[in-house]
Symmetry: C2
Subunit: 325 residues, 2 copies
């Protein structure tokens, strides 16, 4: 592996001059520049980023912690974050916590150990204290941490409101809501709040069922939905917290002989690819994932540069009318 020294020798210059060319510092002649470029090409030289990082104070790496990759919402989120990070010259250290606290905590250590420029934490489950000792910016997505640097969310309450309004205006009178994991408090809980408020105001009954962490992991919601529909056979409107759940609800309805949207209206959340690939296609709440991702990376960048950044950013959602409601 060629080093700066090798390049310098090849170019007949000193490391100082070569470094000046590389970093565009001080005075450099066109002649020197050419010699250096030629030598670099000839030796197939690539600066050792590890050494660079050690010399400087931190790396250009973002630690991206997600609970899952297979879940289309997070796949979408990761993709958008990578895009923006790449544009800004950051790399992604991918941390798949799998909703396992232990693994999440370990990955946080790995991030700090690798001197990341900052951490983007998507829907983390780890407790607050873990972040007390962290000196790098921590940007949370769909999760608020008192000791975090900044949080990015969509307007979850508004999403719940839109869903309830839509279902009720479709004529539904017996609603069922598949909410979040009950054990962890999340901004996404606000979906339920918005939903509840509308229902109460309009005098429409609704039941709520909670998911479990393990389901978040294996993405199997069939049994839960089937059980809930059996317990509440009068249900004619369903609002669930993700399109993945909604897609499975459609399968359950089909198995149970419940026609959608005839007997049952369904509204999902996220508006990921899958929403347009089910039959009937899913009506859902659109999360502005791209914008959230861009903002998160920008916040991280600004915070890492020592700027003061807004503690909380909330982006609007909107209803996408398709076929299920």
């Amino acid at each position: 592996m060629a080093t700066l020294k090798d390049v310098a020798k090849e170019a007949g210059l000193t490391v100082g001059t070569v470094s000046r060319v590389l970093n565009n510092r001080g005075y450099i002649s066109d002649d020197a520049r050419e010699k250096v470029n030629g030598a670099m090409k000839k030796l197939n030289y690539h600066p050792n980023e590890v050494a660079r990082s050690l010399q400087g104070k931190s790396t250009n790496t973002i630690g991206l912690i997600v609970p899952h990759i297979r879940h289309p919402y997070f796949a979408e989120m990761i993709s958008n974050i990578e895009n923006q990070a790449y544009k800004k010259g950051y790399r992604i250290l991918l941390c798949n916590a799998q909703s396992i606290e232990e693994k999440e905590r370990e990955y946080i250590d790995i991030c700090t150990g690798n001197r990341v420029a900052g951490i983007i934490l998507c829907s983390g489950t780890v407790s607050v204290e873990v972040f007390d000792g962290i000196r790098v910016p921590v940007i949370t997505m769909e999760r608020f941490l008192d000791n975090g640097t900044a949080a990015v969310e969509c307007d979850n309450r508004q999403g719940g409101t839109l869903a309830a309004e839509r279902l009720i205006s479709c004529g539904c009178r017996h609603l069922l809501h598949v909410g979040n994991i009950s054990s962890i408090s999340m901004p996404a809980d606000q979906r339920t709040e918005g939903f509840r408020q509308v229902c109460e105001k309009m005098g429409v009954a609704f039941h709520e069922v909670f998911t479990e962490k393990s389901q978040y992991h294996n993405m199997k919601y069939d049994a839960l939905i089937e059980k809930a529909l059996q317990e509440h056979p009068e249900t004619d409107g369903l609002f669930v917290n993700s399109d993945v759940i909604a897609a499975q609800a459609l399968q359950v309805c089909r198995r149970m002989g419940i026609s959608v949207p005839g007997q049952m209206k369904v509204i999902g959340f996220d508006d990921v690819n899958i929403a347009a690939l089910t039959t009937p296609q899913l009506t859902t709440i659109h999360q502005p994932v791209r914008e959230m991702a861009e903002i998160a990376v920008n916040l991280l960048h600004d915070a890492a540069s020592g700027k003061i950044v807004p503690k909380r950013t909330v982006l609007p959602v909107y209803l996408v009318e398709r076929e299920t409601a």
Copy 2:
């Protein structure tokens, strides 16, 4: 940020001893071990992995290059690779090439610049020469490189064979195959070969349409499929190269008033989550993604340790019978 020196001072020992504790080298007393652990905890010390990497010859990072993240097949692949990598103590540097040669090439440079232990390249599109100068192991998935270290594939030909046999045994006599990007030669082209061979042997006509690189990127196949079905209205069996395409084909059929599986049988490829969430559910060819991922990481690990590894590993596929064929 606490350093080894700080820990040594806090523990009342020297860096040598502390290093011995950390790396379990030489003689260490329980007393010293305790002192060091206490000091580490007190100072919230995390070894600087950057410095460690610089000192050693390479990092414990795998450069994972994928053409897409949003595509469920790659999301699945990434997830499985991360899992196995984590078990083996590797980190993932996520490189989303977006099927852009320029970006893929740049990411390869970034990987070498960051002194990754090895590269796992999924369905890369970059030309062979790029890898000539690379000294780290390069494991390719679903792509064969003469100058690569090892390649992992599924039995694509077998997949094509199974699909053709199934469609024909379902009574289809006018087949259509949505194949790969025509401009790049890939192992996945073998699906077409296997498919063709069976069709020819059985005397069943079939047409083939090719996808474009941009479609791989934006995952929009509707127009292509619709056009193909209009050009070949006699089609009664469809074999497409991914479940994403198949799911869209179902939507197109619905729009065109073609009943599936009544008038049209459909077989996808990959067997990702989405396959069980469409209506009707997709019959598809299962790729052993988990096994492929594990093998890839193991190959990388072995190759990085200087072992000789098999140049090509092909894993079996099988047909998953659901509702579309």
